[in-house]
Amino acid sequence: MMERVGGPGHFVDTGPFDPDAGDPGRGEAASAWRLFLRRFLRHRLAVASALVLAALYASVPFVEWLAPYGQARRNGDFIHAPPQGLHLFHDGRFVGPFVYPYRAELDLQTFRRDYRSDRSRPQPLRFLCRGDGYPFLGLFPADRHLVCPPEGGTLFLLGTDRLGRDLLSRLVYGARVSLIIGLVGVSISFALGLILGGIAGYFGGAADAAVQRLIEIVRSLPELPLWLALSAALPPTWSPLWVFFGITIILGLLDWPGLARAVRAKLLALREEDFVQAAELMGATPARVIARHLIPNFMSHLIASATLAIPTMILGETALSFLGLGLRPPVTSWGVLLNEAQNLAAVQLYPWLLWPVVPVLVTVLAFNFLGDGLRDAADPYQ
């Protein structure tokens, strides 16, 4: 850099000067959604959570194929069998995935069954094999499974329950109900929150006050007793499937206030924006302002809020079913499975009955991380 002195202490840079250089506006043409996606992809934990959840939800239509056993299949000889180890090497030799068969003996002093592995007979697993029959996608009969127990043997990777049902298979089946209940419940509360929050936020005044008071009333009711009362009100004559829908609707009906508040707050903020006023001063109708300016601008925030609300749904179902007031057998959900772990003595003797806690934990955490990532991407300034 050259220096030219125009007087004592006067420094002037003599480098080239181009006023148009680096002028923004030659910037990229990415849309707001593309930028949103880019910011989201930077969030590694959220992206990993999204992948986990995608895998979980992708498995929902294929649970029968993924589970080694049908969910109601009892193995009367193997009640409360502990998890069977999965092995690859027998006597230092590679065999592929296999299990050692169980031999059950009744301990005549404690009246407990003791299971011993027979270490001499490796039983290789079978893949893409025939097993318990099921209606594939509810449409046509099928009996193929991803993995089956060995010929004449058993495969209880997570152990069995008091009726000798394979816990892993039941967890896989339970995922279907628990995951769907989260989505359906949030859809119901999302719709309610969007409508009521939208009315409060856009029209303000008396409508706003009415919705706000309603929210406060719903919020001030103690949650658990209310769930209990509502689910106790479901007719006992309903089929398990109807109970399932009933529970979902109850969860959705009680969870909307949080979303309604989010919608209202965002709408109130957006209504003050200059670009909304600009549209109104151009003669735009309220419907147009809502559809073209308000909804696109708060949708990303809402998706984030809704994602953060799904775990509440899943936990709500789990809690209700754990208490025996939610879903009833033969419907299997993670909460129903945990119901069996209520007995402290059973947990002490058969700790593997607590396995359903793990998928609940993973799903709830994944939804929370995903929701955080979405929220940060939607609002980079928070």
């Binding site: 030219r4 125009g6 007087g7 004592p8 202490g9 006067h10 420094f11 002037v12 840079d13 480098g15 000067f17 006023p19 148009d20 680096g22 002028d23 923004p24 506006g25 910037g27 990229e28 043409a29 990415a30 849309s31 707001a32 959604w33 930028l35 930077r42 924006e273 200059d274 670009f275 006023q277 600009a278 549209a279 109104e280 001063l281 151009m282 003669g283 735009a284 147009r288 073209r292 300016h293 696109p296 601008n297």
Partner: protein
């Protein structure tokens, strides 16, 4: 004499997704003891980053990559760049020896604590003074920065104070420990022009009294000309010119500074002289759009008034009624520009909202000539109201907030045409024409607002306002949110569009220089009333009302030949009760307008008007 602060070869870089982006490239400058260095530059030039580096309060993503910041108080200079930002040495320096004041005085003060607590806290933390000592010294500091009642100010909360008093409290807080260096980042940008002049006068007086040095960050060459000793000009993170003020301003050497000085509106411009923007907008205006301007007035505001009811502070107290606008009348002839000038709270924005029919006046009428004679805007309904929405358009102050971030420029420009039922085929051709009219590349239609700079966004806003071929544009502070270097470009563009399209403008601004450059007639508002109205030349040649005079006297001129008269800046000019006779208005007194020359009218007190009769 060696300088108090000397920055040597300082580089600062931000970590971004695409790697490190250097925002400050090898900056070197000196601040002498007891002197003021003005650091001048537009947004993105790195001037605030420099201030943050000196105090080591850079954002977490930024780091000092090379260079030294030597602070030489005492025998041994300290290299601030080598200190740990949160370490004990830096914490002791920051606040005690180097203090900072910020642009926004409201957010820099905690709303939960009294002024006395906040100012005294620094004293108690750093010197261990007792509460009584701290209060005594705080009272003295508040008196020094010009608080009218320092003892009472100790127990007031920030929200009870005006913007000017808040900034005074900030200054008192910064100076309570008698620092050697004060870093002031745009200290007056958020203030009204008369308040700004008072704060500048205060800073200069305090510097004379305490001998502190100042690093003053500003974009306003007028401020530089009035209180700086030395000037350093930053452009894109590089120092392009520095030196003593008089040398630099009288003989600017760098093309950027020379261009900047030609781009700022000044009061001593020759009639018809055009500003020379640093980056000109090359506008191409299709010839067929021109309106025949109506022969008479296109807009007439007749005695409008508007009050707002504030919710009472206490339970069962009576709601307070604030008269935002009382008895305001304006006339705008077709094809001309009317400037409405006033400080914040003068009611000028309320008037513009009533013209836009976004607010209904309590009294009076707003008349607009849509081609079939003047008609009351607030009586319009149905199709005629819809037509009015197309004929009168508003350009907002903030080009960042007034464009929907989720729409492409094509959608933004198409929206008014879509609402008003223009055929899709015509819309896309019109959008391309509009882009050319404001000097933007039609290829950028697919882009989203965030890809554009502030000046370019304001041009998009103007293009959107022109989409429906309006007759009247209401310009609400059209360049206040923009860098000085692009203001000239927008103002020239507006002038060219007016000449080519036969538009009429109502321009609302606090900036007298901008109004002087743009308007044919000017109305000055104070406390909801017009106090003086005149053709532009008459108003600037012969300002008669004390409020107008105070406004004019308070604008810092970038020319060294017109220094501010700091002694004349008292802060009493916006209080009608303190105006000298015959202008004095008792509280709630309306006064009357009296002509002093053709077209030049001023408001005088009723008592005087009776005497004269």
């Amino acid at each position: 004499m060696s300088p108090l602060l000397s920055i040597r070869d300082l580089s600062v870089a931000f970590r971004t997704d695409t790697g490190r982006a250097e925002v400050l490239h090898g900056l070197s400058l000196d601040v002498g003891a007891g002197r003021t260095l003005a650091l001048v530059g537009e947004s993105g030039s790195g001037k605030s980053v420099t201030a943050q580096a000196v105090l080591r309060i850079l954002p977490p993503a930024a780091e000092i990559t090379t260079g030294r910041i030597l602070f030489a108080e005492g025998a041994q200079p300290t290299d601030i760049a080598a200190l740990i930002p949160d370490g004990a040495v830096m914490s002791a320096l920051r606040g005690q020896r180097i203090a900072m004041i910020f642009q926004e005085p409201m957010t820099s003060l905690s709303p939960l604590h009294t002024i006395g607590d906040q100012i005294g806290e620094a004293l108690r933390v750093h010197t261990g003074a007792s509460r009584r000592q701290a209060d005594a010294e705080t009272r003295e500091a508040l008196a020094r920065v010009g608080f009218p009642d320092p003892a009472r100010a100790l127990t007031t909360y920030p929200f009870e104070l005006s913007g000017g008093l808040r900034q005074r409290a900030m200054i008192a807080m910064a100076l309570i420990l008698k620092p050697a260096l004060l870093v002031a980042d745009e200290p007056t940008t958020a203030l009204d022009v008369t308040t700004q002049a008072q704060i500048l006068a205060l800073l200069r007086r305090l510097q004379d009294e305490t001998g502190m040095a100042m690093l003053l960050i500003t974009h306003d060459l007028g401020i530089v000309a009035n209180i700086a000793h030395d000037v350093a000009v930053l452009y894109r993170g590089r120092l392009v010119e520095s030196g003593p003020r008089d040398t630099v301003l009288r003989r600017p050497g760098h093309p950027y500074l020379r261009a900047l000085m030609r781009a700022v509106p000044r009061f001593d411009m020759a009639p018809g002289e055009r500003l020379a923007p640093i980056r000109a907008a090359r506008a191409e205006i299709p010839p067929m759009d021109r309106h025949a301007a109506p022969a008479g007035d296109i807009l007439r505001v007749e005695g409008v008034g508007k009050s707002f009811v504030l919710r009472a502070g206490r339970l069962f107290a009576k709601p307070r009624i604030v008269r935002a606008v009382s008895d305001v009348s304006l006339r705008l002839a077709g094809g001309r520009t009317l400037g409405l000038v006033g400080e914040s709270g003068s009611g000028k924005t309320t008037v513009s909202k009533m013209v836009m029919r976004a607010l209904a006046p309590d009294s009076g009428r707003v008349l607009f000539d849509a081609g079939a004679g003047l008609a009351d805007v607030h009586d319009l309904e149905g199709a005629r109201l819809f037509a009015y929405r197309g004929l009168v358009q508003l350009v907002f102050q903030d080009p960042y907030a007034s464009l929907d971030p989720r729409m492409s420029v094509r959608q933004i420009l198409g929206e008014p045409m879509e609402i008003h039922g223009v055929e899709p085929r015509l819309r896309s051709r019109r959008a391309r024409d509009l882009m050319a009219m404001v000097g933007l590349d039609p290829a950028a239609l697919a882009r989203y607002p965030h890809a554009f700079s502030g000046g370019q966004r304001q041009r998009i806003c103007i293009a959107r306002a022109l989409a429906l071929n309006p007759r009247l544009l209401v310009l609400d502070e059209p360049v206040s949110a923009l860098d000085v270097s692009v203001q000239a470009q927008i103002l020239n563009l507006l002038k060219d569009l007016q000449a080519a399209l036969g538009l009429s403008y109502l321009i609302v601004s606090h900036n007298l220089a901008v109004v002087d450059y743009m308007a044919d007639d000017i109305s000055v508002m104070c406390r909801g009333r017009i106090v003086e109205e005149a053709p532009r030349a008459a108003l600037f040649r012969n300002p008669a009302h004390p409020y107008t005079r105070a406004l004019l006297a308070a604008v810092p001129d970038p020319s060294l030949d017109h220094p501010l008269d700091f002694a004349a800046v008292t802060g009493e000019a916006s209080d009608p009760d303190r105006w000298p006779e015959p202008f004095r208005l008792a509280p709630d007194e309306a006064g009357t307008m009296r002509a002093i020359e053709p077209g030049h009218r001023i408001r005088v007190g009723a008592a005087h008007a009776r005497e004269a009769a």
